[in-house]
């Protein structure tokens, strides 16, 4: 069975942040939350690289393991989603996530974080597909429409790939063979305990 994954080809990413904006707009993400972000490592130095990062929809996801109310579930496409109706805003997924994906709408102290929000791989939530309630809580459900996440679909350099993990790994490998170099699939080792051999 296919597992949906993201792969950011760091040798192509130009830090345009269009994926960040596309995500925010497509999903009407609340103020203060960025489900996707672009981090530039060794900024300004020779060999700097920018990586677009969001929830990696890990195998054996740490967020799901530590959730005290078990509000996480995995879809048939192996996308890691959660129910905002069950979430109590305790912050544990935020402690456990290696990618800083879980975020909260309120920056208030005193346990008033509100319901956790994170990247859904544009796959909505537990509500009926494409229902207004689903959109209001989780944003777009592009997967239900047969589309892939907007961040990757509109990436101008096709640095960010999204889809069946095997297929995007193959695309990336072909690129690496053709051009002769590649800095690897960032985050894969941490998320899936495997990486793309290059």
């Amino acid at each position: 069975m296919a597992r949906m994954k993201f792969l950011c080809d760091a040798d192509r990413c130009i830090e345009c942040n269009a994926c960040v904006t596309a995500c925010k707009n497509e999903n009407e993400v609340p103020w203060g939350i960025n489900r996707r972000r672009v981090v530039t490592i060794n900024d300004g130095k020779p060999g700097e690289r920018s990586i677009s990062m969001a929830c990696m929809h890990c195998t054996d996801a740490p967020c799901a393991a530590v959730c005290p109310v078990d509000c996480f579930y995995v879809t048939v496409d192996k996308v890691v989603l959660h129910s905002k109706d069950l979430c109590i805003g305790c912050g544990y997924c935020f402690y456990a996530c290696p990618f800083g994906a879980p975020q909260y709408p309120k920056v208030g102290n005193f346990g008033s974080r509100g319901k956790m929000d994170k990247c859904t791989f544009c796959a909505g939530g537990p509500e009926a597909d494409l229902s207004p309630a689903e959109f209001q809580k989780y944003g777009s459900n592009r997967l239900a429409e047969g589309k892939l996440p907007l961040c990757a679909e509109m990436c101008s350099t096709k640095s960010l790939l999204a889809g069946d993990g095997d297929i995007i790994a193959k695309i990336y490998k072909e690129r690496v063979v053709k051009r002769g170099y590649g800095s690897g699939a960032w985050g894969w080792k941490t998320a899936y305990k495997e990486t793309v051999a290059i």
């Binding site: 672009v38 020779p46 005290p68 935020f94 290696p98 002769g180």
Partner: protein, 336 residues
Amino acid sequence: MRLSRSILSLFAVLGVVLGLGLSSPATAQQNAPINPTASSVREDQLLNALKPGGAAEIGGRISIPDGTAATLIRPAGREWREFHQGTMHLVGAIAILGMLAVLVGFYLTRGKIMISGGPSGSTITRFGAFDRFIHWTTAGCFIVLAVSGLNITFGKVLLMPIIGEVGFAALSQLGKYAHNYLAFPFMIGLALMFLAWVKDNIPGMIDVQWFASGGGLVGKGHPKAKRFNGGQKMVFWSVILGGAALSVSGWYLLFPYTAGGVLNLQFWNVVHGIVGVVLIGAMLAHAYIGSIGMEGAFDAMGSGEVDLNWAREHHILWVEDEMKKGVIPARLQAAE
């Protein structure tokens, strides 16, 4: 005419020189493969640099306003997960089930500790209204904090299968609010108990003797004790020190933006969890010996009036002090 020809030839020479100068490196570049990755930052190197003692996070610069988003990968979350799903469950189960097993075993072998001389029928005041008020404020808060805290770790295993995920989520949400708000009366009670009782809880040689002779729990006879015996002093200091650790760690968890990052929150969560279950274990023992474990003990925090014979057996030096102060009516002293 001659001038124009010489200018022309100059251009020709320049053209040849420039052409050669430009073309030779260009051909070399086309022949040699370029590998930008050779000089670029690599994830493998960064992950390897995260070994203990090094940096804990891979991060960089970010152009959105949220600076915390500049962390790209933070593998420490996996260790915290291992702790929370493994060690925390194990330590919690040992502290609580282990203590319950010890208490049941103690009850079955030693039985209820009775007043050897039987109740005298006369009482003296051990804890006044204020003492009892701060004790029960703190204790009441502690019970709710303990149950709602244990629910966060064990609830989804023990309770959720029984009441279902929706009911359990609603209950846990309530528990979270109770935990957050009752933390404050708990901390106030803790501070007041410290101020009220610290002067009688300074450890001394008498406590060493008390422990050496088994504290009246094992063996026969009652070692001498002042207002608080060695065991009670241990309860006092575990409540004060454990409570302080819970307060500090809980404060950071309650005000996460003051903790200085997720790694610190993970640390405070570990402190909060471990100290919490150990203190719950200690309080089970405290509650046992203060109620069903010993005849006459509950009165101290119930009515505040304890039987004189109980007081003499457990706190003879305190009773003598009270007599000297004239707190105990002369007719009771005469009865001795």
